[in-house]
Symmetry: D2
Subunit: 397 residues, 4 copies
C-alpha cells in the first residue's frame, strides 16, 4: 500500500495549450479527489527560459527549466508529463522511462508507427521495473463517455452493428487562416487525422471494447497554401489564433480525413475528422447502434449521453437524454450536485486521478502506450489507404 502522504514530483515538458490544461488538472485533482499520493508540481520545461519562467509562475510550477534531459535526470522527479508536439514525444518519453520516471504522454503517442513501437517497447521494459506509462486520450474521462463505455460493458447495447464517429472543427475553414505547427507534417505528424481523428479512433474502441481490424480511407488537403502567422512557435496556442503575414507556405498535412472501418466484433465503422466543418467548434460525435440499444454523444453538449433501450415498451421508447452529472456516473461524485455541468478541463483532472491512483496502486494505467501504438497503426493505415486507395488491415495487438 502506498503511503497516502507520499508525494509524486511531476515535471511537465511543454506549456502551451496542453500544458495549460494539464496544469489545471495537476492543481485541481487533489482538492476534489482523495488521491493515494500527492502530486507536487515541481518543474515546467520550455525552450525559452523567460517564457518557461513565466509559465511556471502562471501555471503553478515551482521551477522552470529549458533542459528536459537535465530534468529527467533529476532524482527528485517521479513523473514526466509530455505536452510537446508529437515529433518530440518518442525521444522524451523513452528517455524518461529509461530514467525510471512514470510518463504521461499527450496524444497522438507519436508521429510515426516506428516511434510509437519504440515507445511501447520502452514502456514494456519500464513496466517490469514498476514504472508506468499512459497516453493522454483525455476524452475517455468525460463522464458521459465513461458512462457510454459502462453501458456497453453492462450489455445494454447488445451486439454492436454500427459505429459512426465524427470530430468536426472549423478553425481553418477560412483559407486565409494562418499556418501553424499543426499544419506542418514535420512537427504535427498529421493534420485533422492525427490531431482529432485519433481521439475518435480511441474513443470508439474504448466505448465498444472492440478494435478496428481493417479500413479504407481518404485524406484531403483543401487549401494547399496559407499565409505564415506573424509569429509562431511551439509554445503558442498552435495556430488557433494569430495574425497572418503576406508570405505563404505549404500545408503539408491533411485538412480532413474519412474512412470506413470494420471492428473486431463485425460492426461497421464510419469515421470523419475535419477542421473545415463550418460552425462546428469541437463536435466530437459518436453513435453506437447495437441489437439492444443505441448511444449518441456530442461534445458540444458534453454533459449529456443519449441512450435508447430497445427493450423499453414501444409506447415510451425513445432516446433518453441522460445528463451525466449524477453521483452514480463516472467521476461525478467528487464534483457538484446533479445538473451542475462539468467542462472541458475536467477530463484532464480525471486523467491525473487515474494516473496517480495507478502509480500508487502499482497497476497499469489505461490507455497504455500499447493502446496509443494501436491508434497510431490505425492512423498509419488511413494514410496508406489514402495513398494506395486500398483497404488496409490493422495488425492485431
Amino acid at each position: 500500500m502506498t503511503d497516502p502522504s507520499s508525494s509524486l514530483r511531476v515535471a511537465m515538458i511543454g506549456h502551451a495549450f496542453m500544458g495549460n490544461a494539464h496544469s489545471q488538472a495537476w492543481r485541481t485533482a487533489p482538492h476534489f479527489f482523495a488521491l493515494p499520493a500527492h502530486p507536487e508540481m515541481a518543474v515546467v520545461v520550455g525552450r525559452d527560459a523567460g517564457r518557461a519562467a513565466e509559465a511556471a509562475a502562471r501555471l503553478g510550477w515551482a521551477e522552470s527549466s529549458t533542459d528536459w534531459r537535465e530534468v529527467i535526470a533529476r532524482d527528485d522527479i517521479d513523473v514526466v508529463d509530455i505536452c510537446t508536439p508529437g515529433d518530440t514525444h518518442a525521444e522524451i518519453a523513452i528517455a524518461a522511462l529509461e530514467a525510471g520516471k512514470h510518463v504521461l504522454c499527450e496524444k497522438p503517442l507519436a508521429n510515426t508507427v516506428a516511434e510509437a513501437e519504440a515507445m511501447t517497447a520502452a514502456a514494456d521494459q519500464a513496466r517490469s521495473r514498476g514504472v508506468r506509462a499512459m497516453v493522454g486520450f483525455t476524452y475517455r474521462r468525460v463522464p458521459a463517455i465513461g458512462l457510454a463505455r459502462q453501458l456497453v460493458a453492462e450489455g445494454r447495447v447488445g451486439d454492436i452493428r454500427h459505429v459512426r464517429a465524427q470530430y468536426l472543427q472549423d478553425w481553418i475553414a477560412d483559407p486565409e487562416a494562418p499556418l501553424s505547427w499543426r499544419l506542418d507534417k514535420e512537427r504535427a505528424g498529421s493534420g485533422a487525422l492525427g490531431d482529432i481523428g485519433a481521439h475518435v479512433i480511441d474513443l470508439t474502441q474504448f466505448i465498444t471494447g472492440s478494435r478496428i481490424t481493417e479500413l479504407t480511407g481518404r485524406l484531403e488537403t483543401f487549401v494547399k497554401e496559407r499565409p505564415y502567422a506573424e509569429s509562431h512557435s511551439a509554445g503558442s496556442l498552435g495556430g488557433l489564433s494569430g495574425t497572418a503575414s503576406t508570405e505563404r507556405g505549404p500545408v503539408t498535412v491533411d485538412d480532413a480525413a474519412s474512412f470506413l472501418a470494420t471492428f473486431a466484433g463485425g460492426a461497421m465503422g464510419v469515421f470523419e475528422a475535419t477542421r473545415f466543418a463550418t460552425g462546428r467548434k469541437n463536435a466530437i460525435r459518436i453513435e453506437v447502434n447495437g441489437s439492444l440499444g443505441s448511444l449518441a454523444f456530442d461534445f458540444e453538449d458534453m454533459n449529456v449521453l443519449e441512450y435508447f433501450d430497445a427493450r423499453d415498451d414501444a409506447e415510451v421508447a425513445g432516446f433518453r437524454r441522460i445528463i451525466a452529472t449524477e453521483s452514480v456516473h463516472p467521476y461525478v461524485a467528487a464534483w457538484w450536485p446533479p445538473g451542475h455541468g462539468l467542462g472541458y478541463e475536467h477530463g484532464f483532472t480525471h486523467q491525473v486521478v487515474d494516473l496517480v491512483t495507478a502509480i500508487a496502486d502499482g497497476t497499469d494505467p489505461s490507455p497504455s502506450f500499447a493502446d496509443g501504438l494501436q491508434v497510431q497503426q490505425v492512423l498509419a493505415a488511413v494514410e496508406t489507404s489514402s495513398d494506395t486507395r486500398t483497404w488496409q488491415e490493422i495488425p492485431p495487438s
Copy 2:
C-alpha cells in the same frame, strides 16, 4: 348499430383558415380510417355567394350557400360544422342543435360564458334526442398529446405537482402588423387568451384529467392601435397576413395573457399565451411534473413527446424523446411507418374520425360543449382577475 354504409351529410359554415383545415379532414378521414358512417361533404356556407362557390369548388363541397339558416333547415343535412368567428357560434350552434343536427363547433365555444352556457344547455337537450355536440379542440388529437394523456392515465407520472403551459406566437410582434377581426373584441371575443390560451387550458386539463379550480391572471395589450388591413373580412385568413393601410384603429383584445392556476388535484399551474414571442411560430409547450415522472411537449416538434421516468435506474434516467409515430400511439396505425411524421392537419382528421364514430355509436363525443363552457369559464376568470387583480374561483362543473 349504425349501418357502416350509412352517410352523414355535412354542412360547413365558414370557409377561411379553419374551414380549409376542416375540409381537408372531411376529405381525408375516410381514406385512412374505417369509419362507421360515410361523411358526405354536402354544402359550404359563406357570406358572399361568389366566394362560397369558389370555396366549394376548391375545398370539395358539393354545393355552396349564403344562408346558414336555410341549410340548417334542410332535411338532408346531418352534421353542422361551425368554422366562423366566435361571435356567431352560439346562434348557429343552438339553431342547428334544435334542428336536430349534430354539431362540431370550433373553439373557443363562444365569446362569452353566457353564450357558452346557452349552447351547453342546448347540447344537453339535444343529447336526449340523440343529437351530438362537440367542440373543436383539435390539438387533443395530435398523437403525442394523446400519448401524454395516456401516460398520465396509466399512472406513469404519479401525483402531478406542476403544470406549465405556453402558447407562443409572434405574428403581431411587429407594431405595424395590421388589424384583423382577430384583434376586434366584438368578433373574436378575446385575443391571445381566447384564441390560443384556450388551447393550452383545454390541453392541460385533458392531459392531467384535472380541472383548474382557481387562478390569478393578467392581460396586456402592448400595441393599442394598428393600421387597418387593406381589406379584411371574416372569410380572410384572419390577419395572418395582408398589407396595411394608413388609417389606424384600436386593438380591443389582449396581446398576451398570463395566469397562475390551481388544479383540482393540487398541482400548480403557470400559463402564458402571447402573439409577441418573437421567433416562436406556433409553440404550444406543455410540461407536467409528477411524483413518478414528467412530460414535455412542444408543437414546434409536434411528433415528439418527452417523458422522464423517475423509476429508471439513476445511471440511465433521462428525458426520453419519444417519436410518437409508432403504431401503438394514438391514431398512428392508420398512417405511415414509424418516423414518418404527421402534420398540423392530422389532428383535424382525427377529430372527424372521433366525431363520426361517436355519432354512429350513439355516444357523446369529447370534448363536449360542457368542456367548452368550462374553458370559457376559465377564460372569463382570467379576464375578471386581470380587471380586479384578484384570485378567481372557477365554478365546479
Copy 3:
C-alpha cells in the same frame, strides 16, 4: 398553354405503402394548389381483383384492374403512376412511355443499371413526342430540403467541402423480424442501399447541385436468415410488420451500406444507410459544410433546417433552427400559417403538383429518368466496390 380545366386521367399501378401515399397526394393536391390541369384518379391496378377493388374504394380511384397492360393501352389514360416493386418498373414504364403516357415511377428507378438505361432511353424518345417521365424522389419536396437546395444555389454555403448523409432505420434490427419482399434481391434489387440509400444519394446531389464522381463502399448483411412472414405479398406493407413463421429463408440483400465519395466540386462525401440503427425510425440526416456556411437536416424533425452563416458576427453566430413553415419557403404558402408543421405525405402532394405543372407546361419534370439512372449507377458502383474492395468511378452523365 394547357387549358386549366383540362383533365389528366391517372392510372396507378400498385396499391401498397407507396400507392397509399401517392393516392393521398393525387386526392389532396388540387385542394391546396392551383393546378394547371385537373388530375382524375381513374384506375388502380393490382394483382388480385378483390384487393384491387378494395384499394380503389379505400384510396379513391374510380375503377380497379388486374391488367396493367390493358390499362396502359386505354386511350383515356394520360398518366401512369408506378408504385410496384423495383423489378417491375422497367417493363411497365417503358410500355407506358411507348404508349404515350406520362410516367411517374417510384424510386429506385430500377433494380439494375441496364434496366435504368433502357428506361432512360425510352424517356428520351418519349420526350421528343411531348411525353414526360419523372422518378419519385419525393424527399426533394420536403420544404426544408427545398430550402437547403435554395440556400446552396444562392451561394450562402460557399464552396462545399463536406457532405455527410445517413439514412437510419431500425425495423429489422431484431434478428427475428420476418422476411419480406424488401429482403429479397429478386424483387427489391438491393436492401438498405437501394431502398433508402438511394434517397440520400439523390438528396445530397440535389442539394449541392453536384454529382458523385467516385466512391469506395461496403455492404453488409448482419442477419443472413430470417423467418418467413406468415403471409407476404407485393401488395402488403412490405414487411414493415407481420407475424413470423417457423420456417426460415435467406436474406439476399444488404442490411446496411456505407461509402466514401467524391463530389464533382471536390467535396468529400460520407454515406450510410441501414435498417439496424436501433432507435432511429426514419432518420434522414444530411449535413453540408461549405466555406461560407453549413446546413443540417434530420427527417425526424422534418420541418426544420439548420443553417450556419459564417458571415454572422462571431458574437451571435450559431446554427439557426429554421422552421421551414414560412410562406417564403418552398411549397409552404399553399398550406398553413408558420409553425403549423407539415408531414411525411406532403412531399408526395408537392410531387403531384410539380408533375402536373410540368405536363401542362410542356416542360421536363425533375428528377428525370436520367437522374434516376445516375443514382442507379451510384448504387451499382457501391455494389461493385463492395465486391472488389476498390474505388469505383461513376460515368459522367
Copy 4:
C-alpha cells in the same frame, strides 16, 4: 493604481457546498486571468475545529479557525467571503464591513428584508471608506448569460415584451427525501423561492437591465413532513444527499414558488422555482422576447445561448444556437478554444476575477448589496402576495 504584486488575504466563512465552489474559484482565478492583485487563501472558518482543519487541507486554505469574529479582527485579512446559511449573513457581513474588510456574501443576501437593509446600509458606509461589498449571484458570470445581457444592451432584442424564467430541480420530489437545513425556515429563510428563485429574479433583471415593479405570487409546500437526516449540519452538503431516519419533522419552507411580474419597462414576467420538477436537475431557463429578437437559455446546456434576430431574412430566420465559447464572449478568452465547454464552477472563478479587479481598481463590484436587497424585496413581496393573495409592489431602489 494597485500594485499588481499586491496581495489580498482572504478568509472564507463556511466550507460546505458553496465553500467548496468558492475555494476552487480562489485557487483557479490567478492561473487563467491576469489579476491586478493576488488573492491569498489565508483562513477558512468552520464551527468544528477538526472539520475546519480538514477543509483547510482539502480546499487549500493556509489556516483554519472556529471563530469568525477573531478572524475578522485580524489585520492580515483583506477580504471576507461568506458561504454560510442565510441566517448568519447579516451579522458576519456587517461586522466584516465595519472591520474594514471587503465582503463577498453568498446569495440570497439575507433571510429577511430588514437584515438585507442593514447589510446594505453597512455596505454604503463601508464604500465611503473604500471597502467593497458584493453579493454572489454567480450565474451572472456564466458566459452565455453575460452574452445575453450584452445582446440586450446592444439593442438586439428591442423593446422587451416577455420574460419567462424557471429554476427547476427535483431533489426533494421524493416525499421520503430527508429534511436538511435548507428545508428549515430558521436557517434557510425560504425554500425554493430564496434558494433558487432568487437566482432567476437576479438573472432576469440583470439580462434585461430592468427591475421588477410588482408581482402576484404563490408558494406551496407539497410535502409537509419529512424524515430527519441521520446527521445534518450546516457544514454538510445541505441535504443534497444523506440517509433518512424514522423520526419526522416539519418542512417550514416552500417546495415551489410561482409568480407573475411586471418589469419597469412594461414587460410581462412569469416566474417559477421548484424542487419538484422530476427529471430537471438544475434547469435555469430564461426566455426574453422583444420587438427585435428573442433569447433563450437553459443551464442544463449551459454553454449555449439561443438568439432569434427578427431582422434576419424570413427565409433563413431561426433561433441561433450560439455556443458561447468564442473568445469574443464574456470571460472566454482566458480559457479554451471554441467548443471546449466551461462548467458550473467557472462562474465562481469569474466572480473572483471581477471582485478582485473591482477592489484593486477602487470601483464598486456588481451585483452590490443594494442589488441583493432588491432581490430580497422581491422575495418578500412573493411571500406577502402568497399570504394575502394580492398583487404587491416592489419599492423603487
